[in-house]
């Protein structure tokens, strides 16, 4: 009876360890950000890309429409790749595209926009990357969808492609 009990305890113990290690091995060991979490947009003050005047976030997001925030930089190669898609997206009148220029040289950034076109209805400057941290971003390019309640409802890490473009269109319909 006692031996049976010991065997039972040992089996339970090893099964438990097996489940823990199995789950641990299957879990991804790199950072997988949550992209569907609803979050309030941060309140901030940032410099406008063209006028160099400070603008408040309330002023930027004052209309009752969907906003798309795109974090970009002239030195970022994938930003160049996604730019034609942003140009296409900018034709959609039901959304406003806001550019967030990340840790960039202003002259290079202006050259980039002059060369590839300006899809943004407004662009703000994030010289030190701290504004991007407020949005929960960790690199460029990144794109956020902000709904009419001024909540971030979706974020896309990396360059947007045709599939993402369609997803953005369907969400902001």
């Amino acid at each position: 009876m006692k031996n049976k009990f010991s065997l039972f305890v040992v089996v339970i113990f090893f099964s438990f360890c097996f489940v823990i290690f199995y789950k641990g091995l299957n879990a991804p060991n790199n950072y997988t950000p949550k992209v569907n979490e609803k979050k309030n947009i941060p309140t901030f003050k940032a410099k406008d890309f063209y006028s160099n005047n400070f603008v408040n976030s309330d002023k930027i997001f004052e209309e009752n429409i969907f906003y798309i925030i795109n974090i970009w930089a002239s030195w970022c190669v994938p930003c160049r790749a996604e730019h034609p898609l942003l140009m296409r997206l900018s034709k959609n009148k039901s959304i406003k595209l806001i550019g967030l220029n990340y840790r960039d040289n202003l002259n290079n950034a202006k050259k980039f926009i002059n060369e590839l076109g300006n899809p943004y209805s407004q662009t703000i400057i994030d010289n030190d990357g701290t504004l991007s941290v407020e949005f929960g971003a960790y690199g460029v390019p990144e794109t956020f969808i902000i709904d009419k309640d001024k909540k971030i409802i979706r974020k896309f890490i990396g360059p947007i492609d045709k599939q993402i473009l369609e997803e953005i269109k369907s969400i902001t319909k």
């Binding site: 823990i20 950000p33 949550k34 990357g129 991007s132 960790y138 690199g139």
Partner: protein
């Protein structure tokens, strides 16, 4: 002349206390940065990393310390933005119960077994 001397001593003392408080905030900053994971690096803390992401986080932590936020509040802020993964020290929650309590459970069960064995040996 006496007033001048007092003024110089007061200035020196003020400078010394400023230096001390700067040292303290630097210590706190380094402690926090060592406990924050660089999310775009492989196995590096923000303190060790020179990536764009890490330098932005360093600036944010510096700003929060200067704004008077405490260590826990800074961790809370970062968790809000990036989730639990950004902090090396895992917080006690439903996902980490096993991590926190399993070693304790093993210790108690192991201790009980050893105690029983010793007791039995003594009885013999």
């Amino acid at each position: 002349m006496k007033i001048l001397k007092i003024a110089i001593i007061a200035l020196l003392l003020m400078g010394f206390s400023n230096l001390k408080s700067n040292e303290k905030s630097d210590e706190l900053k380094n402690k926090i940065l060592k406990n924050i994971r660089c999310l775009i690096c492989q196995g590096q803390s923000v303190y060790d990393s020179e990536s764009e992401f890490s330098s932005s986080i360093k600036l944010i932590v510096d700003k929060k310390i200067n704004d008077g936020l405490e260590e826990k509040e800074i961790y809370f802020y970062l968790r809000e933005k990036y989730g639990d993964w950004i902090i090396y020290d895992p917080k006690l929650n439903k996902n980490t119960y096993i991590l926190w309590f399993l070693p304790l459970l093993f210790f108690l069960v192991g201790g009980a077994i050893i105690y029983k064995k010793i007791q039995k040996k003594n009885e013999k």
